[in-house]
């Protein structure tokens, strides 16, 4: 509950300058809701006039009703419009904040999260929060206003009616929803969690469908899919049933309290305290004012998934990154050297991968790094790029500790190609321009030439505008790798970090790429991780990673 309330406070704060609009929405809602009982009271008035033989002022009754219907329509429109306007504005803001959080968490903390669940958060969960902004704050204020006004109206007819009304409004609009929420809120949490997992499962299955087919596991994964769907439906049905139980309870309660008014009315009339028409007024007024109260009654249930979603989103937004990037601090303009001093590192709570590493890379050095697969070479690069911070020891650039260096400036100095080339489902040119959005067409073409892709691209019907497919799956593996490398060629970095740059290309291509790298980054510094001797031979010195330690072997 504490988590929920702090999440709710956060959401309310987000409204900030839009709060007046939210209040206006509630005001419109109250007016439109009050016009409904007014219509009915007018009807009751007509009946009374008729009963006691007064001349029927039919047209004024009917005209009044039409005016009220119009008021109802117009104010409802403004209520809904402004409420949703605020809601969707804020949802867009939340999406912005989620992406900000992603940027902050990436890459260390993001790796541990399933992308399908994240998508489900940014689409499904955030959409659910709409209920909070557009269908909670307004209705609560409306419910309170309408209940108060109607209690006063009923009280004016007779205090007993007033009390019955008050009891009804409190029970239906307040007690029941709160009890229900307390009782059911875990269901919302479970439901949203499963929904997220389900989204991820489907993404995982659709992405891996080729292997599923090849290995003959189609039935197995269909079963998995269906099981999870069932699990989700189960939660939804529970919540749906509950909603209807509540609605039934609300409606019954309403009829029951109407009945109580009739009962009290009967006694009051028979003891001569009231005339019959007052009872009619009271009953109709109460009955017709029910909609906003019933809405409150239902609200508790609607909020269960909404609050669960809200907790998920807020939790994501507030998660602390593994590395706190420095927005200010030392701003190196050139690269002098990188130094690792007695660095220990292990992922989270897993055993240490790097132990007391000392490493130095000077301006102009070209150093190779080899070592068994899984020994921690890529990890070392990640430390130099400050994707992670070491558990002990220090990584220093130009003699300054990494933590004091402005991270943006660090990224300008370092240019890297990671072991898994990531391509965006865009054109070849766009993918190269990830390296430098301002690169001219000539620069892009030259870069393609340097990684030996130019010929192949020229043979494509759409040339540089060819789309590469999801994750680049319309290119061959080696083409993907070379395309990702081309990004380095359109920018000017001082320290080039290469993780297995040529693992998926043939010898001739490898030769050309290594030579192109030499030429393009003449005089710059370079660290190449590779299992291939050919690539390591292009360096001035080679270190090997062995059991978490670095050994110079050349």
């Amino acid at each position: 509950m504490r988590r929920t309330s702090s999440a709710v406070i956060k959401l309310l704060k987000l409204a900030g300058p839009l709060t007046p609009m939210l209040l206006f929405s509630a005001f419109s809602g109250a007016v439109s809701s009050l016009s409904v009982p007014a219509i009915f009271l007018l009807g009751a008035y007509g009946i009374e006039k008729l009963l006691y033989g007064n001349p029927l002022i039919l047209w004024s009754v009917f005209g009044g009703m039409l005016v009220l219907a119009l008021v109802r329509g117009v104010f409802r429109y403004t209520e809904q419009y402004t409420g949703h306007y605020v809601a969707f504005r804020l949802l867009a803001k939340l999406r912005d904040q989620v992406f900000t959080a992603m940027r902050r968490l990436a890459p260390a903390k993001l790796e541990a999260r399933n992308s399908g669940e994240l998508v489900s958060t940014v689409t499904g969960d955030i959409e659910l929060i709409e209920v909070f902004y557009a269908h909670t704050i307004g209705p609560v204020l409306i419910g309170v206003t309408v209940s108060t006004v109607m209690t006063i109206v009923l009280w004016m007819i007779h205090p007993v009616f007033g009390m019955i009304g008050l009891a009804a409004y409190l029970t239906l609009g307040c007690v029941i929803p709160i009890i229900n929420y307390q009782h059911e809120k875990d269901k919302g949490t479970a439901m949203r969690r499963i929904a997220g997992q389900f989204h991820h499962l489907q993404l995982d299955i659709f992405s891996g469908i080729r292997d599923i087919r090849l290995f003959g596991r189609k039935k197995l994964y269909e079963q998995k899919l269906m099981n999870m769907e069932q699990e989700l439906s189960h939660e939804e049905i529970q919540l749906g049933k509950n909603a209807f139980f509540l609605r039934g309870l609300g409606e019954s309660g309403l009829l029951f309290f109407t009945f109580a008014i009739l009962f009290a009315g009967t006694i009051l009339v028979s003891s001569g305290i009231l005339v019959g028409s007052s009872v009619l007024y009271a009953a109709i007024a109460f009955f017709a004012s029910s909609a906003p109260v019933l809405a409150l009654n239902q609200l508790g249930n609607g909020l269960i998934p909404a609050f669960a979603a809200c907790r998920r989103v807020v939790q994501l937004i507030e998660e602390l990154p593994a590395v706190k990037e420095a927005a200010s601090g030392y701003e190196p303009s050139t690269f002098e050297d990188v130094e690792l001093g007695q660095v220990d590192f292990g992922y989270d709570d897993q055993p240490e991968i790097l132990k007391a590493i000392d490493f130095h890379l000077d301006k102009g050095d070209k150093i190779g790094l080899s070592g068994a697969s899984g020994s921690g070479k890529s990890t070392l690069l990640k430390l130099i790029m400050r994707f992670w911070d070491p558990t002990h020891g220090e990584v220093m650039l130009n003699g300054e500790p990494m933590t004091l260096i402005q991270t943006r400036a660090l990224r300008v100095i370092e240019g890297a190609s990671l072991q898994d080339a990531f391509l965006f489902n865009q054109s070849i040119a766009d993918n190269i321009r990830i390296g430098n959005p301002n690169a001219t067409d000539e620069e892009v073409a030259t870069a393609a030439e340097q990684v030996n892709l130019k010929q192949m691209i020229d043979r494509l019907p759409h040339g540089f505008e060819t789309k590469v497919g999801e994750l680049g799956d319309r290119l061959s593996t080696g083409e993907r790798q070379r395309l990702a490398l081309a990004r380095l060629f359109v920018r000017d970095s001082d320290l080039i970090l290469l993780d297995e740059p040529t693992s998926n290309v043939d010898r001739l291509n490898e030769h050309m790429i290594l030579r192109a790298l030499d030429e393009r980054f003449e005089g710059k510094s370079m660290l190449i991780v590779s299992h291939r001797r050919s690539a390591l031979n292009h360096t001035d010195a080679v270190y090997a990673m062995e059991q978490g330690r670095l050994k110079k072997i050349r």
């Binding site: 009807g43 007509g46 009946i47 008729l50 009963l51 009754v61 009917f62 119009l70 109802r72 809904q80 949703h84 999406r95 990436a106 890459p107 541990a112 399933n114 992308s115 689409t123 499904g124 991820h200 993404l203 299955i205 469908i209 292997d211 596991r217 994964y221 269906m226 749906g240 049933k241 209807f244 039934g248 019954s252 009829l255 029951f256 009739l262 009339v269 028979s270 028409s277 009872v279 009619l280 109709i284 055993p351 070592g371 994707f387 240019g415 990671l418 990531f422 990830i434 390296g435 430098n436 083409e479 693992s503 290309v505 043939d506 010898r507 490898e510 001797r533 031979n537 292009h538 050349r554």
Partner: protein, 586 residues
């Protein structure tokens, strides 16, 4: 009103729709009965004829009605849920079925992420369509006429006035629906693209950060979110217009009904009970229609999501052969003048001749992009639509049932994926019946044993998405272990050792050599030394098979093979040949 194709999908589940509508109808009847009760009570109060026993007598009747109403409501919801769940499962199954069929050819413009988005978000939208909209359509056809009937018993003029207001509603719905159709389609597109772009940018966020493009992309994402917001506001505006018009009709119409009731009553044509009932039920008469109207956007979004889903389901079916590949101990694959193109214009493979049989280890080499993986996909049955001939044991590939081929073929490539699950589950993917000991033995075979021993979670260690918490080489070896567990007759290793060190590579190569004793093994590699001892080596160059033979024959010819080998030797010796031994020991 109802999308025919969607409705047809639920043929087997309509029983639940019927039950749901029936219960909703009964519930409405109980409601009317309790209103009648109230009207009677109020009448006697107003006429001053009431006695306490009237009221006390009414109480149990009211309670009984309330109870019955809650029961029917419960049934109504449960049945509607079953109905929509049945529809949802059906759609999901179909989608899955289609994805798995389609994957072995081309998915057109549908990415896995859009499909996942459709499956998760879209099918949920449809569940509201089936669970709420369709039942409401039927209830709306039943309940208002009944109310009309009841009021008509008291006075037909009032009923007539109400009926006259009805055509206004569908009219307004129709107008609005026309306007809304395009908008909800746009809305759905925006929603899907929001998720799709988000997923891609999340997956590529590390790359974006390295190149400081994350801020640019963030701005783009915000624009996306803004586009989505405007489109949802458009849909909303349409919906609100309709609701406002309808509200006016509902309450204006009730007003007209009540006014008519008053006139009729003043002329003595309607008694007091009837008049009160008119007051209580006239809004009720319009409400189902109004509710239906408010569900319209649900319906539209559902239909828009379905449209995209159907577009995918309607992609032309590839006609696969029926012929089953019979399992034997010996296979022979032959390609004759085999040609292939992905897009029908750019030739990828041109008139290739190729053969391989059980007991052989065949190597496929050539420059990056020369078509090796494409040939591998053809041989494994993942790609069809080739020209020329490709046979296995004399059966033309295109006549074969793909699943019967897959039972014999094991394949690993850079496209192989690991699943977000435990290590055990990932290994058992290869063989669901394997015991833990067998799984560990498989890890041992690919030199992962020592890594495995460092894992505190053992086989229960959870792998993140696509093996994200493994090193590149570990992932590759794990995929190989998984493949070895699936005992196949034909193995294809496409750059299976590209990310591992020399030691592990030697171990993996030995496994391949051992496999080749009894199986057919095809290896694609860029390190020429690793395939030197293959039984036959094929050399591809820009889609053409330029050379084939053993290392000895090929090295003595002038050609692509010799160039690649010489290049390798030159590069490996490099600047300091004396380091070779030391490096080799890692």
């Amino acid at each position: 009103m109802i999308n025919k194709r969607l409705f047809r999908l639920t043929k087997g589940a309509r029983k639940w729709l019927f039950i749901s509508v029936l219960n909703s109808y009964l519930s409405a009847v109980f409601y009317m009965a309790s209103m009648l009760l109230f009207a009677l009570l109020l009448q006697s109060i107003l006429m001053g004829q009431t006695a306490l026993w009237h009221v006390l007598f009414a109480l149990p009747v009211l309670l009984a009605l309330l109870f019955a109403r809650m029961q029917t409501n419960g049934h109504m919801v449960a049945a509607a849920a079953r109905y929509s769940n049945a529809a949802r499962s059906m759609l999901r199954r179909r989608l899955y079925e289609k994805v798995s069929e389609q994957e072995i050819r081309d998915r057109g413009s549908f990415s896995a992420s859009e499909l996942a988005q459709t499956a998760a978000g879209g099918i949920d939208q449809l569940s509201a369509y089936f669970g709420r909209y369709i039942p409401q359509v039927f209830s709306t056809m039943l309940i208002p006429p009944t109310i009309l009937l009841v009021l008509g018993v008291f006075n037909w003029v009032v009923a007539l006035v109400l009926v006259l207001c009805v055509p206004l509603i569908p009219l307004s719905i129709l107008v609005i629906r026309k306007l809304a159709k395009g908008q909800s389609r746009k809305y759905w597109r925006a929603y899907v693209s929001l998720g799709e772009r988000f997923l891609e940018n999340i997956r590529g966020l590390t790359t974006l950060k390295v190149f400081q493009m994350d801020e640019t992309i963030h701005r783009e994402m915000n624009q996306n979110a803004e586009r989505f917001r405007t489109s949802i506001m458009q849909v909303l505006r349409g919906q609100l217009n309709s609701i406002t018009v309808m509200d006016f009709i509902v309450y204006g119409g009730s007003g007209a009904g009540i006014a008519a009731g008053l006139i009729q009553a003043s002329q003595g044509n309607l008694n007091l009970v009837g008049l009160i009932l008119v007051l209580l039920l006239s809004t009720e008469f319009f409400l189902p229609l109004r509710y239906l109207g408010s569900l319209f956007h649900v319906a539209m979004t559902g239909v828009s999501a379905a449209e995209r889903l159907f577009q995918f389901l309607d992609l032309p079916e590839e006609q696969y052969g029926e012929q089953k590949l019979s399992a034997t101990s010996s296979y022979r694959i032959e390609a004759h003048e085999l040609s292939f193109s992905y897009d029908g214009t750019r030739p990828i493979l041109q008139s290739i001749d190729f053969e391989a049989q059980t007991g052989e280890r065949i190597a496929l080499v050539g420059q990056s992009g020369s078509g090796k993986s494409t040939l591998q996909r053809l041989v494994s049955g993942l790609l069809r639509g080739y020209k020329g001939s490709l046979t296995i044991n004399g059966n033309e590939w295109r006549d074969l049932d793909p699943d019967s081929v897959f039972q014999q073929v094991g394949l690993m490539s850079s496209d192989s994926r690991l699943f977000t699950a435990t290590l055990r589950e990932n290994l058992r993917f290869g063989n669901p019946n394997a015991e833990d000991a067998a799984l560990i033995a498989a890890l041992e075979r690919v030199n992962l044993r020592s890594f495995f021993d460092t894992l505190s979670g053992g086989l229960d260690t959870v792998l993140t998405e696509n093996g994200g918490n493994l090193s590149g080489g570990q992932k590759q070896r794990l995929i190989m272990a998984r493949l070895l567990l699936a005992d196949r007759s034909i193995y294809l290793f496409d750059e299976a050792t590209s990310n591992v060190d020399a030691d592990s590579e030697e171990i993996m190569l030995d496994v391949m050599r051992a496999l080749a004793q009894e199986k057919l093994v095809i290896v694609i590699a860029h390190r020429m030394y690793s395939i030197r001892d293959a039984d036959r080596i094929y050399v591809l160059d820009r889609g053409a098979m330029v050379q084939s033979g053993t290392h000895e024959t090929l090295i003595s010819e002038e050609g692509a093979y010799k160039r690649l080998v010489e290049e390798e030797e030159k590069m490996e010796k490099g600047v300091c040949a004396d380091e070779k031994n030391e490096l080799g020991s890692h």
